[in-house]
Symmetry: D2
Subunit: 441 residues, 4 copies
Amino acid sequence: MHQSEHPGQPWPHLDAEKTRTPSLGAAKIPNPRRHSLFVDDEQGVLVNILHPGHGKRPSVASLEQAGPRRMIYFDPPKTKCAVVTCGGICPGTNDVIRSIVMEAHHGYGVSGVLGVRYGLAGFIPKTDPDVMELSPTSVADIHEFGGTVLGTSRGPQDPEDVVDALERLNVGMLFVMGGVGSMRAAQAIQAVTAARGLRIAVVCIPKTVDNDIHFVSRTFGFESAVEKVIEAVRCAHVEATGAPYGIGVVKVMGRESGFIAAAAALSIKEVNFVLAPEEPVVLEGPGGFLPALEARLRRRGHAVVLVAEGAGQDLLPESGLTDASGNKVLGDICGLLISRTKAYFKERLPINLKFIDPSYIIRSVPASGADRAHCNMLGAMAVHAGMAGKTGIMVSRLHEIPVHVPLPLVTVGRKVMDVRSSAWQQVLDTTGQSRLRAEPA
Amino acid sequence: MHQSEHPGQPWPHLDAEKTRTPSLGAAKIPNPRRHSLFVDDEQGVLVNILHPGHGKRPSVASLEQAGPRRMIYFDPPKTKCAVVTCGGICPGTNDVIRSIVMEAHHGYGVSGVLGVRYGLAGFIPKTDPDVMELSPTSVADIHEFGGTVLGTSRGPQDPEDVVDALERLNVGMLFVMGGVGSMRAAQAIQAVTAARGLRIAVVCIPKTVDNDIHFVSRTFGFESAVEKVIEAVRCAHVEATGAPYGIGVVKVMGRESGFIAAAAALSIKEVNFVLAPEEPVVLEGPGGFLPALEARLRRRGHAVVLVAEGAGQDLLPESGLTDASGNKVLGDICGLLISRTKAYFKERLPINLKFIDPSYIIRSVPASGADRAHCNMLGAMAVHAGMAGKTGIMVSRLHEIPVHVPLPLVTVGRKVMDVRSSAWQQVLDTTGQSRLRAEPA
Amino acid sequence: MHQSEHPGQPWPHLDAEKTRTPSLGAAKIPNPRRHSLFVDDEQGVLVNILHPGHGKRPSVASLEQAGPRRMIYFDPPKTKCAVVTCGGICPGTNDVIRSIVMEAHHGYGVSGVLGVRYGLAGFIPKTDPDVMELSPTSVADIHEFGGTVLGTSRGPQDPEDVVDALERLNVGMLFVMGGVGSMRAAQAIQAVTAARGLRIAVVCIPKTVDNDIHFVSRTFGFESAVEKVIEAVRCAHVEATGAPYGIGVVKVMGRESGFIAAAAALSIKEVNFVLAPEEPVVLEGPGGFLPALEARLRRRGHAVVLVAEGAGQDLLPESGLTDASGNKVLGDICGLLISRTKAYFKERLPINLKFIDPSYIIRSVPASGADRAHCNMLGAMAVHAGMAGKTGIMVSRLHEIPVHVPLPLVTVGRKVMDVRSSAWQQVLDTTGQSRLRAEPA
Amino acid sequence: MHQSEHPGQPWPHLDAEKTRTPSLGAAKIPNPRRHSLFVDDEQGVLVNILHPGHGKRPSVASLEQAGPRRMIYFDPPKTKCAVVTCGGICPGTNDVIRSIVMEAHHGYGVSGVLGVRYGLAGFIPKTDPDVMELSPTSVADIHEFGGTVLGTSRGPQDPEDVVDALERLNVGMLFVMGGVGSMRAAQAIQAVTAARGLRIAVVCIPKTVDNDIHFVSRTFGFESAVEKVIEAVRCAHVEATGAPYGIGVVKVMGRESGFIAAAAALSIKEVNFVLAPEEPVVLEGPGGFLPALEARLRRRGHAVVLVAEGAGQDLLPESGLTDASGNKVLGDICGLLISRTKAYFKERLPINLKFIDPSYIIRSVPASGADRAHCNMLGAMAVHAGMAGKTGIMVSRLHEIPVHVPLPLVTVGRKVMDVRSSAWQQVLDTTGQSRLRAEPA
């Protein structure tokens, strides 16, 4: 399901200029961390790790490896950080916050870490500005809870206002956790700091349960969320097999991409159909979903359908509305699917359809162990990057190695699955579904 | 939350006649179980275990204790049983099936156990009649899965047809798992067997995730379901605290009773309001839900509301429809609640409302350990009762002891919570909610 | 597994005098709790709820029902409570602490709740006396963690010293959580307060993962612990079936009683032998464990043995040592069992024996949902009892109803399983094991 | 923790010859899988994905990418496969078995899949040879159970005997699941098939809970096992904080490497010391473990120590014994640690030490969702490789991409952690422990 699995798909536009990590300036202060192995700015991680074959030369585009630098830019005792969480809740967010606080305090000895309440809105005076001091003691146990202790909100704020607040609060490093939209906001903030010539580093940590961010193999919390989806699918399977011609329909997150649905289907074999935003949904006619579902029901007596919320939007009227984050309000694909399915089978088979929408349950649980390790690493890497004066970047894990990604590489758009990849082919194989397409007449 | 906790509430109509356990006739065959402690038909379990106070005499109404009898009615090697599961899925159903098969085979050595597919409909020829042989090997691992391996369906069938099938299949004992509706069907079946003078024992095992059956302290699967509700409530709390003026609304099962919602609220203190079918919901005005919610939000910034699906039905237009089981189709209380809440707060507070409906997830999980032990016991007790020739009864656990309950005591109606009990008072105390009632003008 | 399930076993010595609840004096202050349903001192709960049969009179011995009283003894704003946790860790302990604090503050408005650190030793100056103020805020999330936030220790302390400390701290109510040993210490403390004529109520909450306390149907945390044992047994079964002639041996807590082992065996059918302290273990010879194990292995190829740590002590030399709580140090029954098993099979079968000792894992987990509700109830009941001036008692749940139990009824000794009960017979039935006894020559 | 994270460590000896995938011969039959995206033999995955820096050339050594080939070697309807599981139990083993069966049947339509019972011993007549037919129906639910439905055993068998059996059984593809030892056995078997000129493909799937296999980023089941270790560590932390000067010691698997211990420490921050086989343990003196533990206890009052079973072996006398797999029997490091710790603190601090050994619990659980997806992929890739005629290889996931690894690259030895890597440095950082080393005098 990872970018690197897409054979033959070169990374576009990765010239040396684009992958270069921006920074505030020369790092001249020795890193106070004792006994640490330091990473050199020269070390990189190859982006495209597929070798095209004998005699051909693999791409050598690389991203700067993340990690503690021998020399740092900020003087820790004089430096204050701020952390802000934006957008939807995601498992592991508190782990990252905790890791930032622990690394900043224990690893570097900064003078303080501020937590900004309720997203970027927390910076803005008129909407009840709110910051809280975060200490190793106050964050010691927060990782045992889902959500974010800072609270979150959607929507951008005027970057000038945010930078005003940063200046007033005397913040040297701003850590922004969020998705592509939040990173665009961070990019705008960084542009203002640069325009004003401020010594403020802006470092992002990718946070989205949808896994739809470029140059991130897998976002933290994604695995934890998929684990909950698997539980819901298992329940749907139990319901489907418990009644004659039982159909279990499960709705999961995924506005523009079906990563969650696909990963769940690859984990739990009880899924028979995955509907994802990346592939058009054809309901009727040869090659369509409903005839395929009928064939499955006649053959096996039950079926499970896993639907990403953004699938089949072309079948629905455009709402024309947008939410607070500026995302368009999605049409209700499951509602359509259920009514069309019932209508289709009315004269064909006495189906028993059960609909399960785990909704927020999948994103508000605490993180799994593997996600915790991931979060701990990201938090530490963000602090290392910030202390070294890197700015306008996102820390990420690419091919299992921590890297720095310049924000412009990330904010071009959301990552989606390539339905011509072997990864999506595996989904088709494991579910046994064919591509849903109108067959040529 | 148990019947026995209702002080001062005598059990109605429990004269000796009503509590007497009916049977097919004299048990004259020695029980083949070795080393077993046998229970005497004379032993009873007191129904009302509250002592009214000094000088007063407690009620002595009792139900026959369940357990293996020294003498049995059916000759095991000549006896065949049948098991059927009716109504909705409930955690632990497979455990009971397994226990019946194991006890019948290993404990008594019956000649066979038939599993009837998809509820009582499985007995009826025209709808694809279907029975499967259940052996210790075939059921060995079924308890690890939710749902029922037999499948289930809703709705009664003609008892004459069912008894025809029982005769054709040469079944001596029929075990019916289901709720009050299914037990009414079982009662009708038993009446036909009696009218025809057949040697067929009809023994019920109470199965409802709603815990709404009289003379059952707590139905199996209830605890397992509540455990999943607690998870959903925890998620709702995370969502509610993650946003300014966050409200988490969780919908749970409970058509006519709020046992699940109440038990969850007593377990997880994050619930601030429980809306149950037993107490009318008043939305506006002094003493109403919305002003109380506003007060909570202004005081604490977030709130969790737990809603049983059957709550507040008087606020909704009657649908006039019924489902396959003859239950009336409920109005959408959560839809109403959400729209009214949004309208109420529109000019008052910028709320963030998140709705979670775990729906089938709470009933299709495998059973918890405590429920497993409960199920194992019920299955064994049902076989003991059937082998001893008891008929027209339900096996149950009352005050932690297994008993036989004559079906007429059970089929009078569904159990509901007494909102004047100390149990419901505990719910009000723990949530901090007041009784929602229009205060007198 | 409950006392009430022991047919024909009348409760000894339960005359009216022994079941009467002691108190500090007349309760003359109106209970400040609004809208609460109050419980009358006259209301009782029958102890023996079995009816002996037609024409016979059931026992009417009863225990006082617990709950809020209309009139209370202590004036809340002038009253301070203290909570202390003694002995081993048990799931749900933090839930009870939280419930006490919430009820005392929100229900009554007491002036403060002190938490005593590390058991009764926390009262004693020389060993670093330590109390912490417990507020609704400070305990809000503690139930999500296992163990006890107060810490605990073993061993009694001089009751005079403890009462000195209570007087100095101006404590009106002392809540002691612990097992039989701790309740003996509480009884001694209460005796000193009585001798000194102090207005100090001593109220105990039974806390033992072993479930070995009289007049408690099931101690809190027991179910949660059994759930973890079930996990360990499942692993042992996996190991046993994964190798030829595989044997999985699981050791669980249970110094003098096998409640945990028995409950686990009743929940998970994969247990083939339960060794409990209540029944002597015979290893060799006809009717012995090893030949029975051999028969099982030859028949099925694998076996799981569940051993309570206190089983088979007569097979081991007495250590003569005692631990800090005064309990004798147990011999290593599993070590003996393993070496004897290996020796026995050396020439008989190529066994693969795997030993699993989950040890502290089963007691240090957070509580399950059902246990949480239980804990919440017990904490509230303890506060109700204390506020009403009850002293020298334990709050308990008997036959699902909260009661007050005078301490002398509890401190006579630890509860053990009756191996002639139907409950133990169920264990033998479910495992398929016979009673392990030397067969008469 | 992954190989690729070791900066500056070039992969030794990776010339083109060594990375070339051996095969039985030309693949001339069209792959019957419909709609599948095929992988070309020319496609490779770079082994070392670190870029050494500007102006330098990264290594281009690559391994063949795994996946379905357009042309295959075996004619499916005439081809039979065999699966065998060797060595210890590991979460996800049944998932791999299931995936192999499903892919072989549904993807290719082979004539049959045999499951060999109890490891390689199942091939050998004298020790009760045993094979079972595996069908899509018989394996449908096995992934819900831990362990392996085939059973397993340790120790090699004469490769000539194994090949005799393969010939008799007419097996075309042999799938061997196991660790380095099992892959050596597979290599020997492949050598015999080659020497005899047989058309038998030998394909390995790495299976070890220890994660100690070269060219595997992370073995399947590893994450699931670490999740259980985290639970045990959390319990140890609860125990340690529940008593004055509490120390929780947790023992985990890891004979020659500390991957499990390190991964757990990176996930759960409550670990204060990790003792791994890769770094010598110094107990006393400046820089030693006991003084560091004392400092921690004096500063924070409690500590958790996580010990891989193979740590500190130089402190123990050599047993000189080996187990059935030929591994040397390890000395009891935890026993030593506990006695030395008690002795050290006897006159210093009144410690409370609790020891937890989750042992088999961590390896016999079912797999987590992420591991399931991994297993499903590996099973399918193994079938693709075998059908294409690849032999003498292991399928693996390297940098998140499936690859073929020639067995000689794997059987040179077990992978261990590089204690000079940034990964191990992260462990030191997160625990706060220093390297345990005798400081120079």
